[in-house]
Amino acid sequence: CRPQLSVFFSRYSMLSTRSLLGRVVRQNGVFRFNSTLVIAEHDETKLAPITLNAISAAGKLGSDVSVLVTGANASKVAEQVAKVAGVKKVLVAQDDKLKNNLPERVAPVVLASHKQFNFSSIIAGASAFGRGIIPRVAAKLDCSPISEVIQIHSADTFTRTQYAGNAVTKIQSTAPVKVMTCRGTSFPPAEEGGSGAVENAPAADVKTDLSEFISQELSKSERPDLATAKIVVSGGRGVKSAENFKLIYDLADKLGAGVGASRAAVDAGFVHNDMQVGQTGKIVAPELYIAIGISGAIQHLAGMKDSKVIVAINKDPDAPIFQVADYGLKADLFKAVPEMTAAL
């Protein structure tokens, strides 16, 4: 019923009932509710954890949060989303054309949903998926998007970082719709306990000739997911080989930790790309981050310096990593790490 309400407000915007009806903003001379659309990310069976962070962020933008779930098995995921606290409505677009959620196909569904419900903001987590879809949608709405928001001050004022986290910028957006991604580690995951209404998303013209999904090759690991792990153990160039990375895995397994790496370790082929922590890899903020054989270049620090406790093990006492470490151990990692694993 919201479109009718917004018409109501445009006609009778002088009515003073708006304070009674929750948060209302003035936009383009029209008063309307603050309403946010979250674009859900999932793998056709379960919701990606970063969507829960995005739902929390959406709650800070206004009280009315809707989530759009697109995909070949969207209804199943929509049931999970409806149970998340703070979610009022779940829009479902289930169609085989939407399998694998290619941005060219998801964007028209987002735009059709926006056309019907006239959201004041549209948000997704700043993952590879969110970073692909959000600007594409923003372009269609002629809005400047806002990337990797780390703090929401009000419906139009946000904080984000630039220069690999070395400048923290507070911005105010005058875009007609605030279209943004949020950094997962900056917002707590929304918890269970909601009872959102599930309904079909408005029909959209999804063209299939532009792009086609061929395959994917996901790294399999029993260890906790890097982005959400409470403890992360990372190895760098100092580990010297892929075989030696076993030392890092062994320690991680004792601690129940996720495993990360510096760019140098990835470039040298010790580990896979998706383990890179840093400005251009993953941003993590665990309770404990243990950097082993990592010097601490600006680009690496950008991905981990919000960790609660940082431990560095490095034989070079001048390594920049020691400037951010709470506990530094100047030692040869080939001696110290096995010793540590054995002692735990």
Partner: protein, 255 residues
């Protein structure tokens, strides 16, 4: 196939930036600048595609102050055939948003009929990572972001392997398309002295956003720029034993 490559002049990746005391931005005067590292990779891939006879022409484009021409000359020295400089006065540059850049590129693409626009996945100054998907949206072209491998699928399609959160995926995009380069797509070459000399004679078109009819009115206002919070100084520990007892104190390791 004609390829347009976007290149941006940014503060060099190795420079530790300083926030201005008046909180309006970071200090850019007398600071080493260079081509955005991801753009170097995009350019390298485009030049390689030309060398493999997949592409016929590689054009580099940059939007920025007069010094952006240095970056464009570097692009020409590395193998671009032509350059386009869309000049924005230095004073206005901090207000230029990825949406404006995408609109400028859109006009250029429509004017010169490119088949591929290749960009870096993000600029290391604003860290926005928006221009590629914005442009794809404006043009209604498919997008393949974070490319790790680019191959020709057939005459009208490219097959792109992308770096995603859990590993890699492969998509096929119909030409024309927008691509963005990830770090591990290739190893960019260095420009040799003879090529640097030759680059001075290659054509560089100069125009302004106004010539293209693009309005640069910002939609984002910077309220203040601050230093990130400083971490409290830590301590060196003697040995592994001490380290573990510290971690026990903090509750990370069961006592």
């Amino acid at each position: 196939m004609k390829i347009l490559v976007g290149v941006k002049r940014v503060i060099d990746y190795a420079v530790k930036v300083r926030v201005k005391p008046d909180k309006t931005g970071v200090v850019t005067e007398n600071v080493q600048h260079s081509m955005n590292p991801f753009d170097e990779i995009a350019l390298e891939e485009a030049v390689k595609m030309k060398e493999k006879k997949l592409a016929t022409e590689v054009v580099a484009i940059s939007l920025g102050g007069p010094k952006s021409q240095e970056i464009l000359r570097t692009a020409l020295a590395k193998g671009a055939d032509k350059a386009i400089h869309v000049e924005v006065p230095d004073a206005e540059l901090p207000k230029v948003e990825p949406l404006h850049v995408a609109k400028v590129f859109q006009k250029i693409v429509e004017k010169h009929k490119f088949d591929v626009v290749f960009l870096g996945k993000q600029a290391i100054d604003d860290d926005a990572a928006q221009t590629g998907p914005l442009l794809a949206g404006l043009l209604d072209w498919p997008q393949a972001l974070f490319a790790n491998k680019v191959e020709k699928a057939d005459d009208s399609h490219l097959q792109v392997t992308r770096e995603i959160d859990g590993g890699l995926d492969t998509v096929k995009v119909k030409l024309p398309a927008v691509l963005s380069a990830d770090l591990r797509l290739n190893e960019p070459r260095y420009a040799t002295l003879p090529n640097i000399m030759k680059a001075k004679k290659k054509p560089m078109e100069k125009l302004t956003a106004k010539d293209l009819g693009v309005d640069l009115t910002p939609q984002t206002k910077t309220l203040e720029v601050n230093d990130p919070p400083v971490r409290q100084a830590g301590e060196f520990v003697e040995d592994v034993h001490t380290l573990i007892s510290k971690l026990k104190e903090k509750g990370f390791v069961k006592a």
